[in-house]
Amino acid sequence: MEPIVYVLDEQVRDLLTHLTSAGTLEEGVAFGFDDWTVFHAYTEKPFTTPSGIVCPCFAVRADTAGMVDETRLTSSVRARTDLSERPAVVLVVDTHSDGTPQCRALIVSHSKMAAADTRFVPRRSELYSRNAGLLETSALAAKKVVVVGLGSGGSPVALDLARAGVGQFTLIDFDRLELGNISRHVCGINDLGRYKTLAVRDQILQKNPYASVTTMEVNINQALAPVEEAVAKCDLLIVASDNDQSRFNLNQMSLNHNRTALYGRAITRAAGGDVLRVRPWTGPCYNCVFSSGLIDGREEEMSQKRQALAVLPAYVEEDKANAMIQVGLSSDIAPIANMMVKIALLELSRGQETGISTLDEDLKADFYIWANRREEAYAAWPLMNYKWTRPSILRWYGARVERDPQCLVCGGHLKADTPLQGIVQ
């Protein structure tokens, strides 16, 4: 089998603009896989977490006749790097007569040189062509989403939105990826110790190399101003954080800037979970729903000690905090993340005719409940059996929740323009 070399279309275009004379070698880096049968070649710093075995990579421009002296090129490569352990990838770039870029790759080892099957990783417009008809991908590429909390819930939501073609992300989390996270997270062992924001950014770029991803490694409760600035600029706020304080703060920000927000969480051991959509000033806010008892009465999943310690009394021993950490399976989190993605895509596509528009007619409710198992808050639910007219596990239920006129956040009880000067004694 002829080796395959993948190269980013955009990088070849860049090479053609700055490699003006034939024969000049530009250095890059390649990653080889599977007994040197597949290579990924980069002439700029890779923006994703690389894997594979590092190989030398060079790029050269063909002469005006589209030719390159391969014998001389091979000698030149061998003179610059030791190829006894691994081969080098050489990219020969040129333009077709119609001006489009072309690139052919050569694999140079210490003893031979062979042509490779060269494939472009396409430009943005082609990347999501399979979604055409279902989603307006060009519109989604311009949409900006803020995702707060990049754990087992937030990370798959961010990644799925990138898969659908959403083009701009701000990722906010101050946690690092630990061993205990790996089994439920979109990132793996090779990201251990990294900020979740940066590791998820790399995953997003794997799916959409043209996405614009900014990250903020902050505790939102202690960095209100910069987070609010990001919320003000977004089209949709996704909240997958693990504490109510952050959700209340983000709720206020979404109301301040009239930005739709989606809140998702799992309850203890991911026995189930819920998803809330807040359409500021038209539907209930997070505080309205919290005060209704729908959220406060259902204990949240504790997935790490920091989270447990934040709600436990100071006098509780470490053992108790550890015992509170009862996580669910990734497959139990997945339905909640999936529902968030569906509602997110609806909200981001609002105003456009898409293949998912009918979903909007169904998803009238703002608060949705899901049960994975008949335990915790759902212990009394009837068996699933063959009935579908009564509550059952593994189905979504939309709950009608009205705005709370007593809500001190959105109920209109605060008087605008109330300067504080003069009330200090």
Binding site: A310, V311, P313, A314, Y315
Partner: protein
């Protein structure tokens, strides 16, 4: 009948703590700043009086 002596108030608090049903409720009179026991089904002490029962029943907890 209103009661505001410390012993009656404390006995009521103990009942709340034990989760007992009570025929009285504790209200806070903002004019006197006193906690006063009144009949649970009786009229309010004054238009401004607020229940101190509910927040007390919520319990105390540290962060």
């Amino acid at each position: 009948m209103e009661e505001k002596d410390s012993k009656s108030v404390l006995n009521h608090l103990v009942d709340i703590t034990k989760g007992k049903e009570t025929s009285k409720k504790l209200v806070f009179d903002p004019h006197t700043q006193e906690l006063v026991l009144v009949d649970a089904k009786g009229p309010r002490l004054s238009p401004d009086a607020v229940t101190a029962d509910d927040p007390t029943r919520d319990g105390f907890f540290s962060r």
